[in-house]
Amino acid sequence: MSEKITINFTVNGDGDVREAVVGQTLLKFIREELHLTGTKEGCEIGECGACTVLLNGKPVNSCLVLAVELDGKDLVTIEGLSKNGKLDSLQQAFIDHAAFQCGYCTPGMIMASKALLERKPKPDDEDINEALSGNLCRCGAYQEIREAIKASSRT
């Protein structure tokens, strides 16, 4: 069995201390140790973006980060966006604009979009295309996703 290392971090605003197995990805750690299954596993090689989370505020592919690298960091997953049972305005905009069909890419799309809106509150198409360059939607809801992000940016 692999070595374990104690890591300190915050997840969705709360501090936590856990044992992380060396060799485990952040993606597996989030799903199987923290039991936050909103973050999805897709390609596991950084090409699809379904596993996108915010690490110190920046969108990263959690399949390409090791759980032990979470030590000392701030993690936000899709579960961290709603407050007191109320959806984030970006989540609501995705629903209002039907910005998904199967929904598998949605958590990653929303996390990448959330980071975009933080650094650029009024993004244009080019900004959106760049921010989502690592997020695939096999249903092809790209147009609706763009509209949802723009709608959210107006609220």
Binding site: I45, G46, K58
Partner: protein, 276 residues
């Protein structure tokens, strides 16, 4: 799950010792190539040494000699660094071509060249800028011109116990226009099928190409025709690039397609930087 040791380094010396003593010890910075490569069986690591938060490797500064980009600096940080955006467009474009936005939040320019893919997107631009790779180890530091750093597909000039501390872009920067043009199967995430960097140096031109030889290469034949023989017909000059490359067929494109695309992209690059 893969089994290996993980050490978060707190000093450069610690990293040197671990690299020197151990077998199959890999430095970890962004991890975007390393973690994929380990999962695919390309790297059989026994130990990862995490160097990305070492202070010495997190330098990003410009002085009167040029720009130093530490090994811990991400590609997004490089392509958004004001002096690079303003004065060295070709490098911003090269860095911006790697992977996707979220990959570039982790991946580093030093990692891109250490991985030594012949298709490394930053390499062609670095060739055009005469970049210098600063290498350090317990035996001291040395500097390697970027064109000597790539020694073959996946292999570089690092010796056992050494790691790249920074990438250096010397002044004066080229005054003319420089661009990086990438042909790939998808708009993002994919590696280059062919990547061409063309830099106008005032009266002369410098051209470097990725994914058409065991390492990134200079288009010396084209450069000679333009710089020494005064060739102004860019289509004619671009044809000469066939003498500079030895592409292979792989999943991204056939050998013949690469020959064709290189010529097209070199011509476009010349048109866009040297004037029609």
């Amino acid at each position: 799950m893969l089994s290996y040791e993980y050490v978060k380094c707190t000093a450069l010396n610690q990293a040197f010792q671990l690299l020197e003593k151990g077998e199959k010890v890999y430095p970890l910075a962004g991890g975007t190539d390393l973690i994929v490569g380990m999962r695919g069986g390309k790297f059989a690591a026994k130990m990862l040494i995490d160097i990305k938060e070492l202070e010495e490797l997190n330098v990003l500064k410009e002085d009167d000699q040029g720009i130093t980009i530490g090994a811990g600096i991400t590609l997004n940080a490089v392509s958004n660094y004001a002096p690079i955006l303003k004065n060295i467009r070709i490098l911003a474009e090269g860095c911006h071509s790697v992977g996707s936005y979220s990959i570039r939040n982790r991946a580093t320019i030093a990692g891109n060249i250490c991985n030594a893919s012949p298709a490394a997107d930053t390499a062609a631009s670095l060739y055009c800028l005469d970049a210098v790779i600063n290498v350090c180890g317990s035996g001291g530091s040395r500097s390697v011109p970027v064109e000597e750093f790539f020694t073959g597909p996946g292999s570089n000039a690092l010796k056992k116990g050494e790691l790249v501390s920074s990438v250096f872009i010397p002044k004066p920067y080229p005054q003319g226009k420089g661009i990086y043009i990438k042909a790939s199967r998808t708009g993002s995430v994919d590696l280059a099928t062919v990547g061409v960097a063309v830099q106008n140096l005032g009266k002369t031109v410098k051209i470097a190409i990725g994914a058409v030889a065991p390492t990134p290469v200079r288009a010396f034949s084209v450069e000679r025709a333009v710089n020494e023989n005064g060739e102004k017909d860019w289509a004619k000059a671009a044809k000469l690039v066939h003498d500079d490359i030895s592409p292979i067929t792989d999943l991204r494109g056939s050998r013949e397609y690469r020959y064709h695309m290189v010529e097209v992209l070199v011509r476009r690059g010349l048109e866009q930087t040297m004037g029609v």
